[in-house]
């Protein structure tokens, strides 16, 4: 991998050096709400989400399917269907982006804020070479010649760690492996030195050994552009190693927020605790039994009042079914959690809360009995 030296004769696409202690807030989401009208009613996919992202920071959004994690960032990017009902505010580098028309939004997308999607196969256009697609991204926001855009494309491929970039730049997407394709997508995202990079499940579709390479490519992209990053995933292992702060989403709302160490070592919301407890650990011996969270996430249509996690929560009490807990600070610090009983969860481990095995032993005996009879 060649090192990237700045060429004084190159056109001004190379970013100015950003001071590392600049606390500029690059992405500010406030009370974002998204609803989708469907035949069964209004699906409230996101219900009042707020978070901030500063320059150089990496924020992880963790949640399972139906938590609203992808929808909230798609709203920021302006990529939701027209039928979606969006309210609240989202500011990218101080500019409000919700409600902008497509023309204005196109100036911001790819330029100030870039997105990386899950499936590298469908993110790239199969009939154009990867070099063409990167150059296209560059030329969409910069008035430069084809040769300069091509040069930048080769630079970017090198930056994300693709070997022999001068040759690879002429390849078509189907000629590259999944991991390489995803790195091309990262290169496209980086092309205009965005302030914010949003990565939505960037490695979920990839093999584990390739995942490591792609995540490294993402780190390089961040370092090079100084961009802040939002990493959305359900994989807690990926979160643990690549972000500074974490927010946990459940049923369209934030239920816990803190530094990565706080979330993993001192969680204070039952869902987070349950999530950590249901993970099989590669570094743990076999005897440890998993503590699953019983039940399924609630339907987002006609949500009942109270905490959405109450039906599955072993600690649920009457107040939990009546009043939805607000996201409040825990121990006075920036760590916040949405639970009426965070105090009781100090030092709690998953095994303390979630116990049962999911099996009706009587029915199993009936089956085994039949077996003995035959």
């Amino acid at each position: 991998m060649t090192s990237h030296t700045s060429d004084p004769t190159a056109p001004t696409m190379v970013p100015e050096q950003v001071r590392p202690d600049d606390p500029e807030v690059l992405l500010e989401v406030e009370d974002l709400t998204v609803g989708f009208p469907t035949e069964d009613g209004l699906v409230q996919a996101v219900r009042g989400v707020s978070y901030q992202l500063r320059r150089g920071e990496a924020l992880g959004i963790v949640g399972e399917s139906g938590s609203g994690k992808s929808v909230s960032t798609l709203a920021v990017m302006g990529l939701l269907p027209k039928s979606a009902r969006i309210s609240g505010s989202a500011k990218v580098a101080g500019v409000e982006v919700l409600g902008l028309n497509d023309a204005r939004m196109s100036q911001i997308r790819g330029n100030k804020i870039a997105m990386i999607f899950q499936d590298p196969l469908t993110s790239l256009n199969p009939v154009f070479t990867v070099g063409f697609q990167i150059a296209e991204a560059v030329q969409a926001h910069n008035d430069v010649s084809d040769e300069e855009a091509h040069k930048r494309a080769v630079e970017l491929l090198d930056l994300v760690g693709i070997p022999f970039p001068e040759q690879r730049v002429h390849s078509y997407p189907h000629e590259l492996s999944g991991g390489m394709r995803q790195r091309v997508v990262i290169a496209i995202a980086m092309a205009n030195n965005p302030d914010v990079i949003i990565a939505d499940e960037p490695t979920t579709a990839l093999d584990v050994t390739v995942q490591a390479q792609v995540l490294e490519g993402l780190e390089l992209a961040r370092k090079e552009t100084g961009a802040a990053m939002v990493l959305i995933t359900h994989d807690l292992g990926v979160i643990a190693g690549h972000v500074d702060r974490v927010v946990v989403m459940y049923a369209g709302k934030l239920v816990e927020s803190g530094t990565v160490d706080e979330i993993f070592y001192t969680p204070r919301m039952p869902y987070t605790i349950g999530l950590l407890g249901s993970l099989p650990r590669m570094d743990a011996a076999r005897e440890a039994r998993l503590s699953p969270i019983l039940g399924t996430p609630p339907s987002l249509v006609n949500l009942p009042p109270g905490c959405p996690f109450a039906p599955r929560c072993p600690m649920a009490e009457q107040i939990c079914r009546e009043e939805e807990p607000a996201l409040l600070p825990v121990d006075g610090g920036p760590h916040t959690a949405a639970c009426h009983f965070t105090e009781r969860l100090r030092g709690a481990k998953p095994g303390d809360l979630f116990r049962a095995s999911y099996l009706d032993t009587q029915a199993v005996e009936a089956v085994a009995e039949l077996e003995d009879q035959s």
């Binding site: 069964d40 139906g66 019983l294 399924t296 600690m315 649920a316 009490e317 303390d352 009706d360």
Partner: protein, 312 residues
Amino acid sequence: MSDLARTATPPPGTGAAAAYDAEAITTKERTQLQLVLIRFLRHRVAVISLIGFLLIVAFAFLGPELWKYDHLIHREIPADQPPSWGHPFGTTRAGHDYMGQIMRGTQQTLKVGFVVAIMSTVIGAVWGAIAGFYRGWLDSVMMRFVDVLFVIPQLVLVLVLAGMTRGTTWLHVALILGAFGWLQPARLVRSVVLSLREQEFIEAAKALGASDARIIGRHLIPNTVGIIIVNFTLVIAVAVLVEAALSFLGFGIQLPDTSLGLLIQSAQDAVFTRPWLFYFPGVFIILICLTINFIGDGLGDALDPKRATVRR
């Protein structure tokens, strides 16, 4: 930690009844048929077309029982009358009541359409399902046969056959058209089956030890029913048009029986002089085809299982 053990309520999984609560399904229980009906009824155009089509069918099959005139010549009928109260569709030069003729014509045309559709769909579905399921040489042979038949100009062959069997009734016409109408559904069903057989539930059936017949009959064909039904409606429309063309050329239904195509043929000289003779059958053909196409559209959307409201 003991603090927690005291305050935590028993997890909702240990009691048998509670376990089921945790897995509660919140949508109402509906059969597949009900779901299809609900989705279909949401298509306004399709519903209107269905009503229109049913009215046409009633007109064609119940009309002759209720209307005072039939489709034959009667001396007491005044000839060449434009539409009036006594004869809402007018009369012909020879002395037919035109409404009686239109009723009969529509009936014969529709009968041809339905029979052709049933023949084509049944033969085509079975042919396509077998070819798509077995693949290999059987598939090649079966589909090359279809390809060869496709290449033959159908209308010419139908004309020749129809010419050989002078005195054709509507049934003859229907059988001849059906003999070629199954080619298109066969291809369609085959392509659907080709993609279906890669689905894991087919593999699961094999792993359970299911026989081929069971897999085709119990798994593949029910999952192609949606496509087949839509195709069925479209074949009716095509058959109606082809029959009209045949009769227009004189090779279809013969006098004294009548069909919409034959009526148009008889009236082709009268477009400007006695327009009612020409436009009524034409409008009926158009209405039949339009309504059927919209119904097919509505059915297609209603039957597509991927559009089912998924919980998660």
